[in-house]
């Protein structure tokens, strides 16, 4: 039972409650840094680290943090991890750090992270909170990666910097520019909603069939 629940918390973040495609959270990094797959992965990893770390701390100290000032406490915890992530990226991959620029400090303001602290980590035991954070962060990472991959393939003819189509590829300039982010995200959201619509329709049909049988 216990094990199933933590599994459940992990899976839901990746698909059913995907932070980007279902909850539509964290749009700022989603649109801003996904012009190449490598940037998307770097941002996703940084967010993963911050979200899991702060969920762990918040959940551990959830009975100590006073209710009245909980938001500021969460922010301080998150900011600590963001600072760690910021300097780690600067030390390990300075090029990527430079391209991400202001968007790394802005992870503090990512509503996905604060939202998980408020809605989940501050109410559930540490193990579940960490599982939930890992699921949500993985979902976020996958979403960033899918957007970044589409934009880099169409906009540059490459994936992770590896040229896919040879010399004569005609780049779709718009995909690297901000409108490309909106277009790609919109199309992916369209497919998610269409899929959900079809699934609901199917479930309704099944329910109707069961009712007529009984």
């Amino acid at each position: 039972m216990k094990k199933n629940q933590s599994q459940e918390e992990f899976i839901k973040g990746i698909w059913r409650d995907n932070p980007v495609f279902v909850q539509v959270l964290g749009m700022c990094p989603m649109l801003a840094v996904t012009n190449s797959a490598i940037n998307a992965v770097a941002m996703g990893m940084a967010t993963f680290f911050v979200l899991v770390g702060s969920s762990f701390l918040v959940s551990t100290f959830r009975n100590v943090i006073p209710k009245q000032v909980r938001i500021s406490c969460f922010i301080i915890i998150i900011a600590t991890f963001v600072t760690i992530a910021d300097y780690t990226l600067l030390a390990l991959v300075p090029g990527v750090h430079k391209e991400l620029g202001a968007f790394i400090p802005l992870i503090v303001a990512n509503c996905l992270i604060l939202g998980r602290q408020e809605a989940f980590a501050s109410r559930y035991p540490t193990k579940l909170a960490v599982m939930d954070a890992m699921g949500m962060a993985s979902g976020f990472l996958l979403a960033l990666l899918s957007l970044g991959a589409v934009r880099e393939i169409l906009g540059d003819g490459a994936l992770f910097g590896v040229n896919l189509f040879g010399e004569n590829f005609e780049p779709w300039v718009i995909m690297i520019l901000p409108p490309g982010g909106f277009l790609t995200l919109g199309v992916i959201l369209l497919f998610f909603n269409w899929f959900k619509y079809k699934k609901d329709e199917f479930l309704e049909d099944v329910a109707a069939a069961e009712r007529s049988e009984s």
């Binding site: 590829f169 005609e170 300039v173």
Partner: protein
């Protein structure tokens, strides 16, 4: 046919039938564009057919693909998809790779019309939206103009047309600047007669000013367009460039050059007058037209681009709901109370 003679004929309203239906209006625009389309075949040969055809194919495919299962194919009957494809094709350079033309038609309908809820719900002109997408996506291919093939070269196809999907155009050195480009970057004025009869380079449909005007007159006689919009756009452009001419006649284009060069006639007559994306009130139509005219001249003279008709119309499309709201006529008998 079997003659029927009922004693009592029961009909429901509307009893008065009008010829003005959506399919009829669309077909009229197609007829009005026919001379300019034929002219584009004359000037640019087989390439024109290929580019126009792939644009229409892309537009129709998008319309068919994104329709409901029940109504699939119904929305094709009013010919609006074909019209969008044709209008888009007429604004494209003749040497554009065909896969880009196809993509433009597809995106124009998908993002310009279907996603808003279909015909009558879109905020922006679908053909211009497709062109804006292409211009932002493939800036080089979209601004590479080829000279008209002239006489005898009907069956020669521009090599750019045949680029493989997702592949670049092989530049073959046969490029020519449009009259507006020549004016902006080389200070060279094209003779007016060339502009009127189409002996210039440019997009497929914009080169022959007189034929476009001819189609406009046909549409006006058929009451398919609001004459206020093209008239106010053209008047604004004429006045604006005449004023500029007072300052420095050598530097700025003459009024007639402004009217007949670039896509102004095509845009003013066929695109700005799209009944879905232009204001419905007469006063609003004047405001809309003046806005388009001013923006066109601002972009052409002071902006970085040689041509600005597309962005001018798209910007004013965005302002259309606002214009409609502020130009509501007062309801009869209510005027004194409400204000």
């Amino acid at each position: 046919m079997k003659k029927r003679d009922p004693d009592l004929l029961l009909l429901h309203a509307p009893l008065l039938r009008q010829g003005m239906t959506t399919p009829n209006a669309m077909r009229d625009v197609l007829y009005a564009l026919a001379p300019a389309t034929v002219a584009s075949l004359w000037f640019f040969g087989l390439s024109a057919i290929l580019v126009l055809g792939t644009c229409i194919a892309g537009a129709v495919l998008a319309e068919w693909l994104f329709a409901d299962r029940e109504t699939r194919g119904v929305s094709l009957l009013d010919a609006s998809g074909i019209l969008t494809g044709l209008l888009l094709g007429l604004t494209l350079p003749p040497g554009l790779p065909l896969w880009m033309a196809f993509l433009g038609g597809f995106v124009g309908i998908a993002l310009g019309k279907v996603i808003w809820g279909g015909l009558g719900h879109n905020l922006f002109n679908p053909a211009l939206l497709g062109r804006a997408f292409l211009l932002a996506t493939f800036p080089i291919a979209m601004t590479t103009w080829v000279p008209a093939t002239g006489d005898g070269g009907f069956f020669s196809i521009y090599s750019g047309n045949l680029a493989l999907p997702f592949m670049q155009v092989q530049i073959d050195g046969m490029t020519a600047a449009t009259p507006l480009g020549m004016l902006k970057f080389e200070q060279e004025v094209t003779p007016l007669a060339n502009l009127m009869f189409g002996k210039t380079s440019g997009s497929l449909g914009e080169t022959s000013g007189l034929l476009l005007l001819l189609g406009g007159v046909y549409l006006w006689l058929r009451r398919d367009l609001d004459w206020r919009i093209p008239v106010s756009i053209l008047l604004t452009v004429v006045v604006f460039s005449a004023c500029l001419g007072l300052f420095d006649a050598a530097r700025f284009p003459t009024p007639l050059f402004s009217v007949f060069s670039g896509g102004l006639l095509l845009g003013a007559i066929y695109m700005a007058t799209d009944p879905v994306t232009s204001p419905v009130t007469p006063r609003g139509a004047w405001i809309f037209g003046i806005g388009v005219g001013v923006l066109v001249m601002l972009i052409r003279v002071f902006g970085g681009l040689p041509e600005g008709v597309m962005y001018a119309i798209l910007l004013m499309n965005a302002a259309t709901p606002l214009i409609n709201r502020y130009t509501q006529p007062t309801v009869f008998g209510r005027g004194a109370e409400s204000k």
